[in-house]
């Protein structure tokens, strides 16, 4: 008889059977809750009618580029001071920003993916889309430029060369506005990017630039985020710029309220009027000059 057999006859000294059943009970509870959430009848509308007036908080869903570049921190205080409305910024990809709008979780959107924006309006989620500004994309890569694209005139040609030389290219891969732009450029280049060299990161611009920096890879970035990150020691350079295909227009869309979507339409419209107005447009134009010696966004509201 071995020692362990001998002792297995004793009352277990330390038994956590309880802990296991609790673990399982918890998991069951979670499953049941999910199932319930899936089956429950639609919740009654909280508010019968959307409030017309301006409430004092506004949720702005925007792309990472406007936030990461510091633009919003620069211009928003003017809006908050003038209207007394506090702006809560949710900085996400354009895809999620639009989804937030559709669900009524955001009151106003500042995004850059024109076809998706038009679709949003066509579906009735916003009364209209307004021009705000544009910035441009740049193809960045290692100083050594192994694919030899530096100074090329069109982005499509550059991408084609990157693909042919199988130089590592990091893609946002997150259905963001930048990702859409990238996909349209690949289309123009007549290349279906695929293979070891094409890294689909599924992350924001900042994370992708860091990744490109670590792997000394190429990527497509908006100029503003790139310059802001370059300040912090990115070892990448702008290799291709100025191609009209690289322009990146931003639109603002107030989310139309319904019974289900009790959005802050009053404040959203105030925001639209403000950002397309003279003062904000001037702030946009001057942002970045002091720090980078060049503006990052070009106002174009009509």
């Amino acid at each position: 008889m071995t020692l362990s057999e001998n002792h297995s006859k004793r009352r277990p000294l330390f038994l956590h059977g309880d802990m296991f059943s609790r673990h399982i009970a918890f998991l069951f509870l979670a499953l049941i809750l999910m199932a319930l959430a899936a089956c429950a009848a639609p919740a009654p509308p909280v508010d019968e009618t959307p409030k017309a007036g301006v409430r004092d908080e506004l949720v702005l869903a925007t792309t990472t580029s406007t936030y990461d570049s510091g633009l919003l921190d620069y211009i928003l205080p003017d809006f908050e001071q003038k209207t007394g409305v506090k702006v809560n910024v949710i900085s996400v990809g354009t895809g999620q920003a639009l989804a937030l709008g559709r669900a009524g979780d955001a009151d106003v959107l500042l995004v850059h993916a024109r076809p998706l924006e038009d679709e949003f309006v066509a579906e009735g989620y916003a009364p209209a889309r307004y021009d705000v500004m544009y910035n441009d994309f740049v193809i960045v890569g290692p100083e050594t430029d192994p694919a030899g694209v530096r100074g090329m005139k069109t982005a499509a040609d550059a991408l084609k060369q990157i693909a042919e030389s199988e130089s590592t290219f990091v893609s946002r891969g997150d259905e963001s506005g930048t990702h859409f732009k990238e996909k349209s450029l690949w289309e123009q280049a007549g290349v279906a990017p695929k293979g070891e060299w094409y890294v689909s990161a599924g992350q924001g611009m900042g994370a992708v630039l860091n990744m490109a920096n670590e792997q000394q890879a190429y990527t497509l970035s908006d100029r503003s985020t790139f310059l802001a990150m370059k300040e912090k020691g990115l070892e990448l350079a702008i290799l291709v710029e100025g191609d009209e295909a690289l322009f990146n227009p931003y639109g603002v869309l107030p989310v139309k309220p319904t019974k289900e979507r009790n959005t802050n339409f009053g404040a959203a419209n105030a925001f639209v009027n403000w950002i397309t107005g003279e003062d904000a447009q001037k702030l946009i134009a001057e942002f970045g000059i002091e720090k980078y010696g060049q503006p990052l966004f070009f106002p174009n509201a009509k």
């Binding site: 020692l3 362990s4 399982i24 639009l98």
Partner: protein, 232 residues
């Protein structure tokens, strides 16, 4: 409401058709978390037994460190691993950043203290008399350790389950050091973040259900194992 219903429906569809993209993500999640758990067990269980039995100078410091490790914020672990593995970091030469190896490393750092801590507590809870009794029966240290491990099996299994649960569901560190790269470092949790960010909630829910089912299965297997050990 429709979003959630659609998500559940789509999840079932993806599972029934054994969607290859989905399987790839699930497999990678299991491989990296499995590897991290295995390393944590191989190192953590002996260490836990040792710490649970021995009395030595500075033990309290070690135990406090282990307990602190049990509550390590994953993002801090992610940040530390990132900085060490970065090109400019001390381990940059390895080229591990944004590879599954980096994820295994971060997850091991997260799971190890859990395995050590819970094993240690379970072992320490066994009355000292048992050790003395065993010794008087002429058991070798190896036999004593094995017996104690067997007595503390519920605790040890709890340690393993806790370790697995902590890392399979972890997202912050995995996102930072793995980079969520498609076909390479995209695991369940980071895929959920991505699909949510894309606004593709249906797929996110599908992935969430799978994650939940995985943890449930892991717990179930552990419980069955414990039952079998008990009935021996």
């Amino acid at each position: 409401m429709d979003i959630i219903l659609d998500g559940v429906k789509q999840a079932i569809g993806l599972l029934i058709h054994l969607d290859p993209a989905l399987l790839e993500i699930v497999a990678l999640s299991l491989v990296v978390s499995g590897a991290a758990l295995l390393i944590s067990m191989l190192v953590g269980i002996p260490l836990g037994v040792w710490l649970g039995l021995r009395r030595f100078l500075g033990r309290r410091l070690v135990v406090t460190t282990v307990y602190t490790g049990m509550g390590l914020p994953p993002v801090v672990v992610g940040l530390a691993v990132y900085l060490f593995l970065s090109r400019q970091g001390p381990l940059g030469e390895l080229g591990w950043l944004f590879t599954p190896k980096a994820i295994v490393l971060a997850q091991t750092i997260l799971a190890l203290p859990l395995v050590v801590g819970i094993t240690m507590t379970a072992i320490a809870a066994i009355p000292r008399e048992l050790v003395l009794q065993l010794r008087s029966l002429g058991a070798t240290q190896g036999q004593i350790n094995r017996t104690l491990l067997y007595e503390a099996r519920a605790g040890v299994l709890a340690a393993i389950v806790a370790g697995f649960g902590a890392i399979i569901s972890e997202v912050g560190a995995v996102m930072m050091v793995g980079g969520n790269i498609e076909h390479k470092t995209r695991v369940l949790t980071t895929a959920i973040v991505l699909e949510t960010r894309k606004g593709d909630f249906a797929l996110a829910i599908a992935l969430g259900l799978i994650l939940l089912a995985l943890t449930f299965t892991a717990n179930w297997l552990m419980l069955s194992l414990q039952r079998r050990l008990d009935s021996r």
